[in-house]
């Protein structure tokens, strides 16, 4: 697939240039690359937040690149979990409510929602901070909540955009360990994009991205 911004204009930018990618079920794939290489754009397209200019995206047998917006919302809700680069927690929601935000539009009962959110907080070691606002949490704690939110709906695919970008190395390693553990336990496919080198210790496969192209596989 390819993604071009301002196509036909004078400042045409190929953010993704003829990328072809296969990710197996339960695989932990990491894409390394410098800033501006197109990693986030790739992740946004894989997550149905953006559409490719050409090509297709198939997740769990479903071609999401042809879906309408309301169908994409359903896919994002049920099949995809997303961890954003800047956490993107809702500032007025407490930790547990931020996790519930991913469950609120589902058919899950209220009790189940709270139980699931509690379970994830426990997994992230954040149970004692459940009623704290994001502003009262450290960067590492916010990232844990963001990850918990991404895993809330037991998605098939979890996409992590720079999960350790705002964290120190120790905390970053803890976060990746948690993601790896959560993925392994539930058999979920994880795709992480990052420029942190140490992530390769947690991943099944590593790809490099530069200038919109996947240029090397290891």
């Amino acid at each position: 697939m390819t993604k071009i911004y301002q196509k036909g204009g004078t400042n045409e930018i190929k953010a993704i240039d003829n990328v072809s990618l296969n990710v197996k079920k339960a695989e932990f794939l990491t894409i390394l690359g410098p800033s501006g290489s197109g990693k986030t754009t790739l992740l946004n397209i894989l997550g149905g937040l953006d559409m490719p200019t050409s090509g297709k995206v198939v997740i769990d047998g479903l071609e999401i690149s042809k879906l309408k917006q309301n169908q994409l919302v359903k896919v994002r809700r049920e099949k995809i979990g997303f961890v954003f680069q800047a956490f993107n927690l809702i500032p007025t929601f407490s930790a547990i409510e931020n996790i519930q935000a991913a469950l609120a539009p589902t058919r899950m009962t209220k009790t189940k929602q709270i139980e699931r959110a509690t379970e994830l907080l426990n997994l992230m070691g954040m149970l004692n901070r459940s009623n704290h606002l994001p502003s009262e949490l450290s960067a590492g704690e916010q990232q844990r909540i963001a990850i918990a939110r991404a895993f809330a709906n037991n998605p098939k695919v979890v996409l992590l955009d720079e999960p350790t970008g705002n964290l120190d190395t120790t905390t970053g390693k803890e976060i990746l360990s948690l993601c790896h553990k959560a993925s392994k336990e539930k058999g979920q496919t994880v795709v992480a994009v990052t420029h942190a080198d140490y992530v390769k210790n947690y991943t099944n496969r590593l790809l490099l991205m530069r200038d919109g192209q996947l240029i090397q596989q290891e």
């Binding site: 953006d50 809700r77 007025t92 539009p105 509690t118």
Partner: protein
């Protein structure tokens, strides 16, 4: 594992499920200034609607009360530019009038939609007003049995017996059995208290034949006022129009005529009040839409995040409309409360008497309900309009908003 989680769960204090209502309450607490402005907008619109409509109703009640309290829908007279003489004059309240044949009222009583036409002879000499009545008419009359506060009402067989107005009696130390004079002497058999707005309010009330006999002009068989009661309040205007057509030299007065006189002074009736209130509601809707659009713009990134994690357009619309409804509910309640108080105050000052129109009209609960309903509908409209903008946001662009 389940038991451990339950135990852990119990340690978490006050965990509420995230739903549109508690999300809305969070946003309201977060944006206190905007919430306050929105609530005030709703409150002012609702309070103004209630106050204006109640004021109009109060004025209308005050102007029709002079007829209502004598059981009358229409007054039939012949106005005249008769100058007062030392022998007195025939008046209707402050209007001079010609006397006419009493049998004319028998003829009028046969007209369609007319239930009764009661004769009155009202005379003024210097500062005193003297009224002749038919005491067999106890529903429509210048003074009614219910107005008697001491003694008794007049009887048809009474000769020189009189009912005396309470204020006049107190001023002149008159009691039951006293003698009061107007051209002749009469025994006071009853003291009456009538409203200051009663058009037929007089000092002395005597049997009509006696009045016709004692007055210097000897107006035997003559009266100067006909009090007409229609068969239904809905056909008053139609009946008045018929009378004007059939008796072109007469003057026909209805409650509307009295109200128009008041309206020309204050220029407000219920229709005007509703029209003004409707315009105010439109302005409020526009203001709320603008405010909610601002609310959506401030939360562009937040809405983008929610859509990215699976919130549909309908989830977003529901949330924004819920917030708007919560603000409208608070504003509506405050507005109803303020409107109720302002209406009470306004009604108490209308009419000139202490207590004013409040004696005649109470604040209508239905009107409070309409005011509250208007607030809610306004909130829904503003929320829907602004949520359409939110629904059009694409997650990736919204998230990138600073």
């Amino acid at each position: 594992m389940h038991d451990i989680l339950l135990a852990l769960y119990k340690k978490i204090e006050k965990v509420k499920c995230l739903n549109p209502l508690n999300y809305a309450l969070k946003e309201i607490r977060r944006r206190k200034y905007r919430t306050l402005m929105n609530v005030l907008g709703f409150a002012i619109a609702v309070a103004t609607l209630i106050t204006l409509v109640m004021a109009a109703r109060g004025w209308e009640a005050c102007t029709t009360e002079p007829l209502n309290n004598i059981g009358t829908d229409i007054i039939y007279i012949y106005t005249a530019p008769v100058a007062p003489s030392n022998k007195g004059c025939y008046i209707v309240n402050h209007l001079f009038s010609y006397p006419f044949n009493q049998t004319l009222l028998d003829e009028i009583e046969q007209q369609p939609n007319i239930e009764s036409a009661v004769p009155i002879l009202m005379h003024r000499l210097r500062a005193m007003v003297f009224v002749g009545i038919d005491p067999t008419e106890i529903v429509t009359n210048a003074v009614l049995p219910r107005d008697v506060i001491d003694g008794r009402y007049l009887k048809p067989e009474d000769g020189y017996a009189a009912l005396v107005d309470k204020e006049y009696a107190e001023l002149n130390n008159l009691t039951l059995g006293s003698t009061v004079n107007y051209v002749a002497d009469y025994e006071v058999v009853g003291i009456v208290e009538v409203s200051a707005t009663n058009l037929m309010k007089s000092h002395i009330y005597v049997n009509l034949p006696v009045v016709q006999e004692v007055l210097p002009e000897k107006p035997i068989g003559l009266v100067n006022i006909g009090l007409i009661r229609t068969s239904s309040p809905t056909n008053v205007e139609e009946t008045a129009a018929d009378l004007e057509e059939n008796y072109p030299n007469s003057s026909i007065l209805t409650g509307s005529d009295l109200a128009e006189t008041a309206y020309s002074i204050i220029r407000i009736n219920e229709e005007t009040a509703w029209s003004f209130s409707f315009a105010l509601v439109i302005i409020t809707v526009l203001f709320m839409i603008k405010s909610q659009l601002g609310n959506v713009a401030e939360r562009t990134k937040e809405i983008g995040i929610l859509k990215a994690i699976g919130w549909s357009n309908s989830n977003v619309v529901t949330q924004i409309v819920t917030e708007s409804i919560v603000q409208a509910t608070i504003g509506g309640i405050v507005g109803c409360g303020l409107g109720y108080l302002f209406a009470l105050y306004t009604l108490s000052t209308i009419g000139g008497e202490i207590g004013g129109a409040l004696k005649l009209v109470s604040v209508d609960p239905l009107l409070l309900g309409i005011g509250f309903g208007v607030a809610i509908l306004t909130g829904i409209a503003a929320g829907l309009f602004s949520s359409l903008r939110a629904a059009r946001l694409t997650p990736v662009k919204a998230i990138k908003t600073l």
